[in-house]
């Protein structure tokens, strides 16, 4: 079996199992801890709407913090939107998803995807530089932060190398790209990348708790 | 619109493979003017969509000079409407195209008489009138 067949077959398959099992493991492990019951008289109804509200509103920065967080926020937007476009709007990726979802959606022209991918890599590098230089980030960062960065940027870089090639063979680069995604999927549920699904839980929880109080969310 | 119709009514650039060749020709012409260096572009190694090669040939047009060579099949050598840009087409004995080139030069090398042939020709000429 060549590398590409290994990457597309068993590697991806095992990664998918671990990705699914790990993600559910993490969510269930959190959700089934004891529940905090709040007997206080609510000022406003919290509930699901409050959760949804904050899930949406926290995507934007409150005005008092805009100036201080502008730089990292901008980078994070570029990184996240870039990643979103690259992962979900690149046609070969859509075909990949269609392979097991059974449906597809329109994608963006590859040229635009390459551009967004490069932007996402650039933003990621800028964020890493910030993490390596800011005293706050230097202090609070741990292995997870750096490794998660690595496994996120690796598929971006290997993916962008496919059209550029740089002397490598297409199927080899493609195999390395898929293997880098495999690495990402293996790490995803266990490290901080889990924020991709935890964000709904944390924002939602805060929304429900604070909206109930009528407090600022 | 079908691909077939495309061929009949080529809209430039329909697959985008012609433009880069024109650029290369332009650079080659500059080189010819500046350093007298000739360039040969082998069209066999370049990707063409349906009708693109025909379009390129038509677009370059026919200039003042054209020649026909009979050696191992026919070859046609003609200057395009753009002086210095030559279109060469080699065919084999079955009249199948075996090579297409754009030569950017003052005179394609193949038009010149070759020493070996000149010497042989001279000998034949002498023999004939001996």
């Amino acid at each position: 079996m060549d590398l590409l067949a290994f990457a597309k077959g068993p590697a991806l398959q095992v990664a998918a199992y671990i990705f699914v099992a790990g993600s559910i493991w993490r969510i269930v492990g959190i959700v089934l801890l004891k529940e905090k019951v709040d007997h206080s008289e609510p000022r406003k109804s919290g509930g699901l709407m409050a959760a949804l509200k904050v899930i949406y509103t926290r995507s934007f920065t409150a005005s008092p913090f805009k100036r201080a967080t502008l730089y990292p926020k901008m980078l994070a937007y570029v990184q996240h939107l870039g990643l979103f476009a690259v992962i979900f709007l690149f046609v070969p990726h859509i075909m990949f998803f269609e392979g097991f979802l059974g449906f597809s959606w329109p994608g963006l022209p590859n040229n635009i995807i390459y551009l967004l991918g490069v932007a996402a890599v650039a933003a990621s590098i800028a964020l890493l530089v910030r993490r390596l230089t800011s005293p706050v980030l230097k202090l609070i960062s741990n292995f997870d932060d750096y490794f998660s960065w690595f496994v996120t940027v690796l598929p971006l870089v290997t993916g962008l190398m496919i059209p550029v090639r740089m002397g490598f063979r297409y199927e080899d680069i493609l195999a390395v790209h898929i293997l880098s995604v495999v690495l990402l999927m293996l790490w995803f549920p266990f490290g901080k990348l889990g924020h991709a699904f935890l964000v709904f839980v944390t924002r939602g929880t805060t929304g429900m708790v604070f909206e109930r109080r009528g407090a600022k969310t | 619109m079908t691909a077939q119709q495309d061929v009949q009514r080529p809209a430039f650039p329909f697959h985008g493979n012609v433009r880069p060749i024109i650029n290369e020709v332009l650079h080659a012409v500059d080189r010819l003017l500046e350093t007298d260096e000739a360039t040969t572009i082998d069209l066999a190694g370049l990707p063409f969509g349906p009708g693109e090669l025909e379009y390129l040939e038509a677009a370059l047009g026919t200039g003042e000079l054209s020649a026909k060579l009979d050696a191992l099949g026919t070859s046609r050598i003609r200057e395009t409407a753009f002086p210095g840009v030559w279109w060469l087409e080699h065919r084999n004995a079955h009249d199948e195209v075996v090579g297409r080139y754009l030569e950017i030069t003052r005179t394609p090398e193949i038009l010149s008489s070759q020493d070996v042939d000149i010497i042989a020709g001279r000998a034949r000429l002498e023999d004939q009138f001996a």
């Binding site: 398959q13 022209p109 297409y170 | 990707p47 090398e109």
Partner: protein, 351 residues
């Protein structure tokens, strides 16, 4: 060894002018995909290289490769046989038959000991020698015997190069490729189902022009023809970049000649010269005819996934096993939460 004439001598003998010779060299350069600046080197080589003897062995094959070879326009197969090489043994093309044919093979081997080329099409069965024999000799024996005195071996077609259809799962005859058996001689793979005629003749031309083995890629294929992917040289590539794809074989995109990636085109992972050399004397190639590339010149292309399955499709069984993984995740999550809660209970009791 009998001294064979050089190609230059043959052309001269036929009264071809120097100008014709230059044309011949130019087209040769074109065939070999060498830059026109290489023409003088080619001219020099052609004037000095002698016509080699070629033995063509056919094993588990369909003769498609030979059929393809006979469509070569430059050089034509006749031109090749009469001018450039001495084809001393080929089941389909030779006039001799039976013992005569085998005698010709032996004669060629003896006369050109150490200098002849062996061309092979078809894969070699290792399961039972009786699966494929010639003149009562098993394929593997004949290959070994013939290759022993050869200068190099050219595996023509995907069967000879990689096992091909006979070697596809479940491989009932135990078919293997030439490379699998010949390890002490240079093996040039010219895969394809069939290979492009011009590529086959070009590989021979290279050998007889330079007398050397061309640069090969990791699958033993000449880099000149198998150095770039179909995708890289495809005239529909701009559509790929623009995100214009045919979704079905009869939609507007297909009619407009858009990229066939979504229909399963294997162009990006297929190394071959189809996109530029094309077929039928440069008329067209599968993608130009509206069909995705199948990747026929790649190893294991029969077992490498569906022809119409997009390249980026992952190859894993979905559904039940994934649901199993999800269930395992739930179980682990429940266990983790239970462990956490019991720890809390214990700590609460301990105060």
């Amino acid at each position: 060894m009998k001294k064979r004439p050089t190609v230059g001598e043959i052309l001269q003998a036929k009264g071809v002018s120097r100008r014709g010779f230059l044309k011949y060299c130019a087209t040769t350069a074109s065939i070999l995909a060498l830059p026109p600046s290489m023409i003088p080197r080619i001219a020099e080589a052609i004037e000095n290289t002698r016509r080699p003897s070629v033995i063509w062995l056919s094993f588990q094959e369909c003769t498609g490769c030979t059929e393809s070879l006979t469509r070569s326009a430059s050089p034509t197969v006749e031109g090749l046989i009469f001018d450039a090489i001495s084809l001393d043994y080929h089941h389909t093309l030779q006039a001799a038959a039976g013992d005569q044919a085998e005698a010709a093979r032996h004669a060629a081997m003896e006369e050109n000991e150490g200098g002849y080329l062996v061309l092979v099409d078809g894969s070699i069965p290792l399961g039972n020698p009786g699966f494929s024999t010639i003149a009562g000799m098993s394929n593997v024996e004949m290959l070994k015997e013939t290759v022993a005195g050869a200068a190099a071996v050219v595996a023509i077609g995907s069967c000879a190069a990689f096992g091909g259809i006979p070697g596809a799962d479940p491989n009932p005859t135990g078919a293997v490729s030439v490379m699998d058996l010949v390890t002490d001689k240079p093996v040039i793979n010219v895969p394809g189902c069939p290979p492009i005629p011009m590529v086959m003749t070009a590989v021979l031309t290279h050998f007889l022009t330079f007398g050397t083995i061309p640069d090969l890629d990791k699958h033993g294929r000449p880099m000149t023809f198998f150095g770039t992917t179909i995708h890289d040289r495809c005239y529909r590539r701009p559509f790929y970049e623009q995100g214009k794809f045919a979704e079905t074989f009869d939609d507007e995109g297909a009619k407009a000649g858009w990229c066939l990636y979504k229909l399963g085109c294997k162009g990006p992972t297929t190394y071959n010269a189809c996109a530029t050399t094309k077929w039928n004397s440069g008329t067209s190639f599968p993608i130009e005819a509206g069909h995705p590339c199948l990747g026929c010149s790649e190893p294991n292309f029969w077992d490498g996934g569906g022809f119409y399955e997009p390249l980026s499709t992952g190859r894993f069984d979905s559904g039940t096993k994934l649901a199993g993984a999800a269930a395992a995740g739930v179980a682990l999550g429940v266990a983790a939460a239970a462990a956490g809660r019991s720890k809390q209970a214990k700590f609460t009791k301990e105060g």
